[in-house]
Symmetry: none
Subunit: 401 residues, 2 copies
């Protein structure tokens, strides 16, 4: 449904919604006829909750399409990730867990090689080893210019994420990479007035970088492209009238949550127990809680089937403390699948459990991929989860008479 129309139907309520996202939750069996990570995990609490819930399988964007965590999260938060694009620079920054805010302009950076006259001879500085570029990133971090702040985060080989932070910075900026050798890197030009300040400061940064790197051949210069702020997205407050809080350890998820207007809570420590403790401690202050579990994805991407199983079991052990808070709606799901056998994100649909006292419970006493395939929510776009949650939280009025 169109977000504008949805927004018109929102009514206030006192209810609380918890969205527990296990990153990359969906999995695959290790051998034909086997069980997935979630099916293998011993999850008595989730199974009992499943029996009182509706089950289904979410499709992040479209069938067959594998998504990154950015679009995957936008979808489960109710936004169409095709419509709300996260620019390349912002994706690069979020992708290395940089905690982007609304005052930030991010770019993809390359270390490159220039000759004595400043002409490009290698746009990738011989793909220098990541350990080298990490040191050079530290060097670039010493650049200070009054009025703005700079961040440089190494990515892989010659690549790094660049962020400039400050008031009144626009992202309508030309790129410095001429996309060929034998010419100098380009100056940045602003494409509108709002971006003039950013162009000015970034050009200064580049000049200082040139001086700092001069003796570090082959990585003696930088190129920046794909300048992007976070997209402007109607916030959870504007759109759903929810006071929303995010509980996440990693920068990317904190960044995406902040982008949709959630209050990103401080988590003391970095364990699951710390995250759930943060939930309990802030229970009275918000209507909606997004709680993110990273390690399901990490183990999935590392091909560690048993590790992913064990994280799911740890999450299961936290469910009683979650339910003790008496949430009105509980969503347990994922942003995408990351089967250990594929060692990567995948296109597979994602298990979803939706509990409220108003669901017509499916009565399926298991939370797993095949169990969810039998659930009454069917196979549904991830962006439909929020409207269903809002309905169960009694936060949606009737459409038409």
């Amino acid at each position: 449904m169109d977000l504008k129309l949805l927004q018109e139907l929102i009514v206030p309520a006192q209810t609380k919604i918890v969205m527990l996202i296990m990153d990359g939750l969906g999995g695959l069996p290790q051998e034909p006829g086997g069980k997935t990570e979630l099916e293998t995990a011993n999850t008595p609490n989730l199974d009992a909750l499943a029996a009182q819930s509706n089950l289904g399988l979410t499709v992040p964007i479209a069938p067959g399409i594998t998504v990154g965590s950015g679009p995957g999260h936008l979808a489960i938060f109710g936004y169409d990730p095709i419509h709300y694009k996260i620019g390349r620079g912002a994706l690069e920054a979020l992708g290395v867990d940089f905690d982007m805010g609304t005052n930030d302009v991010a770019a993809r950076g390359n270390f490159c090689t220039v000759d004595a006259r400043g002409m490009l001879t290698d746009r990738r500085a011989g793909r220098l080893p990541t350990r080298h570029s990490r040191k050079l990133a530290e060097l670039l971090r010493t650049i200070k210019i009054a009025g703005v702040e700079f961040f440089v985060e190494p990515v892989k080989e010659h690549r790094f994420a660049f962020v400039i932070r400050g008031d009144g910075l626009g992202d309508a900026l030309s790129e410095t990479d001429p996309l060929k050798i034998g010419v100098p890197p380009l100056m940045i030009h602003s494409k509108n007035r709002e971006s003039e300040k950013a162009a000015h400061y970034i050009n200064q940064f580049i000049e200082q970088a040139r001086r700092l790197l001069a003796d570090h051949c082959p990585a003696n210069m930088i190129l920046l492209r794909g300048f992007a702020k976070l997209p402007t997205i109607p916030t959870f407050c504007e759109l759903y009238r929810l006071r929303a809080a995010a509980i996440a350890i990693n920068g990317m998820y904190r960044g995406v949550a902040r982008m949709v207007g959630m209050t990103v809570l401080d988590v003391k420590g970095d364990t699951l127990t710390d995250e759930f403790a943060t939930l309990g401690k802030n229970w009275n202050k918000f209507d909606f809680f997004y709680l993110h579990v990273k390690k399901t994805d990490t183990y999935g991407e590392n091909g560690n089937f048993a590790g992913k199983v064990s994280v799911i079991e740890e999450v299961d052990a936290q469910i009683p403390s979650l339910l003790a808070l008496k949430p009105d709606v509980v969503i347990v799901g994922g942003d995408h699948s990351s089967p250990a056998v594929l060692k990567s994100h995948s296109w597979h649909s994602v298990p979803l459990l939706l509990y409220s006292r108003y669901v017509r419970a499916d009565g399926i006493v298991e939370f797993g991929e095949r169990a969810c395939a039998r659930g009454s929510l069917g196979v549904l776009p991830a962006k439909d989860v929020m409207p269903i949650a809002l309905a169960n939280a009694k936060r949606l009025a009737k459409y038409g008479a």
Copy 2:
């Protein structure tokens, strides 16, 4: 599928389709783990039919969205209710079961209070009791102006539905409510030539209303807004090449059926038996029959679980007489859910049964929400039901070679 494309695929046939709509059919259990109204009802005939049918769950507009009966019916008739909007005035009139036709312009009316100079002092006349406004509505009905007809139907407190009927009336009309006090109600202006006649007559009506109500302070004047005709929708005849008939007791459903070009049949009496008798009597004259059962929704909205169960059982008892007519396709479903425990329309998906000799029968010997969740139609948009019915009625040609 796009209606225009669907229309191009329609081929003639001699088959007959019956769409039996139990209003607000979907329900909820009274306690966790319990059965819904439909699951509780003893429905041997529907259960037997289910075994030879496809089952599924329909979603009226979008997951989580609760719909009124207007949009709910448009969807099950195959139209996108977001695209074909029923205006506020028309909704008000249909909502009090006013039998709107294509020559009608409807508006939302308020009784209001004006001072001696005609300035508004209360836009809602102190929210006068409904029993008072009912009497004042009767008074307004005495207004007669040659060339058009007026209808005034009390709604609740200060609100009433206003309808003007006549040839050549447009609904591009400004509103009379200035939305503030201390100023007089506004005159109606037409926004196009086609609406000039309506503006002229309605302004006359308002002047007569002012005189009639003068001594009835606080309700001594009226305000009209949200002028709307029924939307122009391709008819069942144009779109599906179906000679379609509607069997419904209540005005709203008769109005919506007329809007999509159905012949609204006279029902002698107001019982289920009377409705099914009307079906039998008109069997040879039409290709498509929409038969509407109101009381499932009435009991649902009143919170009468047992009442809703019993209406469903009464409907079940009529199924043999329906099947004796040898329809080619039978659809049994609802326009939305109205669980007795919620005492209102709800967002829950709606049980659907589709029988024809060409279905790949699911073999599930039960018609109920959980049974339908296991059906091979899955969870589907309500507007997809008509194409499936048309296909089973051999009324759709192949797309592409």
